[in-house]
């Protein structure tokens, strides 16, 4: 591996880490509030990607407007999932898990029927020219997601610490009963968590749509690494997810570059399997009794 490839791979790894962080933060947020999360979260990412495809590549909206629309669409999808699945199944982790597993099927067929099966949607990049960094050229499109992830997750952390609503979210995560005794509306909090989760997944999907092959199977491909990130980082912990997504992003990108994508997934699952017997709650998770 020469230095040019090394720099490119590092840039890729940071981009992939940012993407997984954006997806997994939503999962961990939802888990904190509900003790379960949306197994079809990768499909929300895919819907974000399709939104950008439809608005930017087909209709011709400006790229950034399309990404903003993907954010809104993701939030709406998240809210719809909360309202239709998680609220009726409140407190039943098994049922929530199975229902969102079924939702994977529903959203996959939905995207396939609306946008066509089997066609790989190629979305032209708005930024064709790579930029040079230490002699290596890096595609702007690939690293576009990095500042977004930093800003989104940073502001989410500030929101959780400094704002009343964010603190209410954390209170529900710690103890829903006591939180509701303080006058916190639990329904509103789960809706908020799912909306934020959906918005982050949607924006990640929108930004990465120009790089990934956008097919109805995309959702199933991104969910496994995101789940691994959540498990390794510690469910319910935003900091843990950031740490784990950096680890996993680098592991996956480097193994993909050196060997291939299948081996990268195998290595990341192995890392998970090595960590879980020692720390079942993940690297930075709390032990829940």
């Amino acid at each position: 591996m020469n230095s040019q490839l090394l720099i490119q791979t590092i840039a890729n790894a940071v981009a992939v880490s940012s993407m997984y962080a954006l997806i997994a933060v939503g999962l961990t947020l939802a888990f904190g509030v509900m003790q379960m999360a949306n197994l079809a979260h990768g499909h929300v990412f895919m819907i974000g990607a399709y939104t950008v495809y439809a608005l930017y590549a087909l209709i011709g909206w400006p790229f950034w407007t399309a990404v903003a629309a993907a954010l809104v669409v993701g939030a709406v999808v998240g809210l719809a999932i909360e309202r239709s699945i998680f609220r009726p199944l409140r407190g039943d982790v098994v049922a929530g898990f199975i229902a969102t597993a079924g939702l994977m099927f529903v959203l996959e067929v939905f995207c396939g029927e609306v946008w066509g099966w089997g066609h790989m949607r190629n979305i032209p990049s708005p930024y064709m020219h790579p930029f040079k960094i230490m002699g290596a050229s890096v595609a702007i499109q690939r690293v576009l997601v990095i500042p977004f992830a930093v800003v989104c997750i940073g502001s989410l952390m500030i929101f959780m610490r400094r704002f009343r609503l964010g603190r209410a979210l954390r209170a529900v995560a710690q103890d829903p009963e006591t939180a509701s005794l303080q006058g916190i509306n639990i329904n509103m909090m789960t809706a908020l968590a799912m909306a934020i989760a959906g918005a982050l997944a949607g924006v990640a999907g929108g930004l990465m749509s120009t790089i990934y092959a956008v097919t109805p199977a995309l959702g199933g491909h991104v969910i496994l690494p995101a789940l691994i990130v959540v498990i390794v980082g510690g469910m319910g912990s935003v900091g843990g997810v950031v740490l784990a997504s950096i680890i996993m992003g680098f592991v996956i990108t480097f193994v993909t570059t050196l060997v291939d994508g299948v081996a990268a997934l195998m290595v990341s699952v192995t890392v998970m399997a090595l960590i879980l017997p020692i720390r079942p709650q993940g690297l930075m998770g709390r032990v829940i009794n």
Binding site: S84, I85, F105
Partner: protein, 313 residues
């Protein structure tokens, strides 16, 4: 019960060959669903069952093809291999619980499946393994033909259902039920929870592996696509739609849903959506599954006839 068995015995002599093949796959699904129920009765909801079914298929197929081990010996070895993998997965996840456990099982199952995909030798990569020997002639009966193999699968299925039924009614079955109802209380009465989780997983995975062996020596080929997450989701959906509270729930679920699955062949691309919507509907409006509907109808019927109500289910 007897009528169903007699019906199944007469079926291959009247049905078209295609439906005989479909019925054999149906038996495999029944084995999978019943063995899956054994594991989920102790609340170890998991997504590795179909991959262990694949472990059985790969092991049995490779032993018969590469080492020339007789098919009827290779199938139980495949079951043992699946059991071994199941125990290994449960051991890794013994300290995980809840949602984290469920999704971690998905990760570990994918690790096994990706191993088949990754290594062209000996697993054949994405094209899988072909030319796996069919069942041989034993005692003058050619198990390669459809009807003898149909009866072979039927016998295996009935034997497995009988064994699982006996487990359900035994002390161990009671212990499983106690764990699913209240783990803390079960533990305080002296039930060793980790040991029972491993036991349930070992038995259930063994039968899944047997189902894989039955499949592979009929199809003559395997590939990793057969055992992907979609198949697992179908199994999960069918079992839950049937209901897992009583022994016959998964049988009802697979019977109803597999029929719909075969009937919906013309709408093949919409099919997953139908099953996805049906599971969401069932979980929200009919949490006990179809079986709860059946027991309600039976209770209502008994009330109408003036029979004193018995415990439903």
């Amino acid at each position: 019960m007897a009528a169903v068995i007699i019906g199944l015995c007469l079926f291959p002599f009247f049905a078209k060959p295609y439906y005989v093949e479909v019925a054999m796959i149906f038996f495999i699904w029944i084995i999978l669903a019943q063995s899956y129920r054994l594991i989920v009765t102790i609340h170890d909801w998991q997504l590795y069952h179909v991959v262990l079914y694949g472990v059985g298929a790969y092991t049995s197929g490779m032993l018969a093809k590469n080492l020339g081990i007789p098919v009827f010996v290779a199938i139980p070895i495949g079951g043992m291999m699946a059991s071994l993998f199941g125990v290994a997965i449960t051991l890794i996840l013994l300290r995980s619980t809840g949602w984290g456990f469920y999704i971690a099982t998905y990760g570990l199952a994918e690790l096994i499946r990706l191993t088949w995909l990754k290594f062209r030798y000996p697993f054949g990569g994405s094209t899988g393994i072909i030319n796996i020997p069919y069942a041989p002639v034993v005692g003058g009966i050619d198990f390669d033909a459809a009807i003898p193999y149909y009866f072979f699968s039927l016998c295996i299925m009935l034997a497995i259902i009988y064994m699982l039924y006996r487990i359900e009614k035994s002390r161990i079955g009671d212990a499983f039920k106690a764990i699913s109802m209240d783990p803390a209380l079960a533990e305080s009465t002296g039930i060793n929870i980790p040991r029972h989780r491993l036991l349930a997983c070992a038995i259930g995975s063994f039968f899944a592996g047997i189902a894989g062996g039955l499949l592979v020596h009929r199809l003559g080929a395997v590939d990793p696509k057969l055992f992907d997450i979609h198949t697992m989701l179908y199994l999960l959906i069918w079992v839950v739609v049937g209901g897992t509270n009583t022994f016959w729930g998964p049988v009802i679920g697979v019977s109803v849903m597999y029929t719909l699955f075969e009937l919906s062949r013309p709408l093949i691309q919409l099919r997953p959506m139908f099953f996805g919507l049906s599971i969401i509907f069932v979980l929200i409006f009919m949490p006990g599954g179809i079986e709860s509907l059946v027991s309600k109808v039976v209770a209502q019927w008994q009330k109408l006839r003036g029979v004193p109500a018995t415990e439903a289910g």
